[in-house]
Amino acid sequence: MPPEFALEDFAKALRAPDAPLPKGIVDPFGNPAPKRFDVYRNNVTVSLIEALQAAFPAVCALVGEVFFREMARTYLRTHPPASPVMIEYGHGFAEFIEQFEPAASLPFLPDVARLDRAWLDVYHAADAQPLNPARLAGLNDDVLTGARFFVHPAVRFINSGFPLHDLWQAGRAAKSAAGIDPSLVQNVAITRPRYEIQTFGVTPVSAIFIRALMEKEPLGAAVEKVADIKGFDLTRVLNRLLTSGFFMDVEF
């Protein structure tokens, strides 16, 4: 079946830059046309590199465009998009970077990639009314202790052992990351109460608390996990979560 054979060959050759020209690919005069075929190869490769560059702006800024595009080119050879919904492309890029030898000197880079990708997930996530903080006003301690929160659909939380929020913001603002204190540890919360995306850094102790709430543990149990750890400020953290639209609902 010549036509089927042609498309199979065509697809294989597209993704292998050194593969020979598929049989039957010609110019209008019947001559073999490798340069013409390369237009398709180039379209596929460049469009995917550009999709990744658009999805991972902080990663790109931190490593520079030349490095990023080579890294993206390597990624797309082994991880082509699995669906035509390109707004989903690049889940797995962070894990790829973890194994990408030339980026080994930047151990924070996978986390920056996770944050870039999560930002895009939040951008496209479902709409929902955030929890009105007034719902918690005037409740007695017994009721509050048993409160379980439902996380808003446009929320992501990224764990990191690096000054992730500062690094990521430097990348997104195309500013130098040179002045950032490397000993800082920032997990990052991303929220979108309505349409404006917010991000904020979270200390390791607050992260334990937030993770517990995200797993639907009651407020009292979440507080207990961190009550003895120095530097935990319940009022401040809870206030931040409530005013940033982290939750959609609460049950008592």
Binding site: M1, E8, A11, G24, K35, P84, Y195
Partner: protein, 286 residues
């Protein structure tokens, strides 16, 4: 009040989020907007909020770029369902897709790839379009491609292939005049001959866009369908010739890469609008 289910015989633009504020602030006169369906397959957020606001003010056309109608495997029914969801949500006046393939072995290749024009491929494309039209419960328009290579296996001309597809599926046609010019140059045929044999009575929409210039293996001109600049003078000429022959049709300016400020894109939209008005005027006078 406009009829949202009726795309007027006016000129429109591909909608880009970065133009939203300019469009709304200037209250732009635009016949309709068109979106790439795949960009609205997320659940919510700003893209849907902007599109909802656009849809309240302007007729909307939905253009799919990922269904891979020409692929040798079966259609991705999950993706077809996503397209149906976008169509159900926005109730567009027109829905269109491409005579091309873009998925192979579940890998999405992110380009509109050419098919050989054979009877076997024709049967497959017809089957796929039947499936799309049945699922969506409406007619779609099929767009003629830009091509850079030919297949030695091809058994018929592109225009005959498209006529057969139309006849067997009852689909409408989206005639991309830039693609006609690009393919005619690249495949060494005359664009006006192509238009003369195209089944124009089934054309529900026209696309215009910009192309880049390259050369092929023999040093002959090779045009690339880049959508990254103004519509070329040669394409304007072909378009005016076509509209003079068939009368006005909804006409979209596509500008997807190196997207300019709104007023620059709008200038091409207005240029198409003037040709439509002029030819409509001639038609009425005749």
């Amino acid at each position: 009040m406009f009829d949202p289910l009726n795309i007027p015989n006016q000129s429109g633009a591909g909608f880009k989020g970065e133009h939203f504020a300019s469009i709304m602030e200037s209250n732009s006169t635009v016949g309709f907007f068109e979106i790439h369906a795949e960009n609205y397959m997320g659940a919510g957020g700003l893209p849907h909020r902007m599109l909802t606001a656009i849809r309240e003010k302007y007729p909307l056309s939905v253009h799919g770029v990922g269904l891979s109608i020409g692929a040798e495997g079966p259609l991705d029914t999950e993706h077809l369902t996503r397209l149906k969801n976008v169509v159900d949500r926005y109730q567009p006046g027109l829905v269109s897709e491409h005579l091309a393939w873009s998925t192979h072995d579940t890998n999405f290749l992110n380009d509109l790839l050419p098919v050989p024009y054979t009877k076997a491929v024709l049967d497959r494309v017809v089957e796929h379009i039947d499936q799309v039209q049945t699922t969506l419960g409406r007619q779609i328009l099929l767009e003629n491609p830009s091509t850079y290579v030919a297949f030695s296996q091809s058994e018929m001309k592109e225009v005959d292939f498209i006529r057969q597809v139309q006849k067997r599926t009852g689909c409408g046609l989206l005639l991309d005049v830039n693609n006609v010019h690009v393919s005619a140059t690249n495949q060494n045929y005359d664009a006006k001959d192509y238009l003369a044999s195209f089944p124009v009575e089934h054309v529900g929409e026209i696309h215009l866009g910009g192309h880049a210039r390259d050369v092929d293996d023999q040093g002959a001109p090779l045009l690339i369908d880049a959508h990254d600049r103004e519509v070329d003078d040669a394409v304007w000429g072909l378009y005016a010739h076509l509209i003079g022959n068939i009368g006005p049709r909804p006409t979209l300016i596509e500008w997807d890469n190196d997207v300019p400020a709104w007023h620059i894109l709008k200038a091409d939209v207005d240029a198409a609008g003037r040709i439509l008005e002029q030819k409509a005027g001639n038609t009425h006078a005749a």
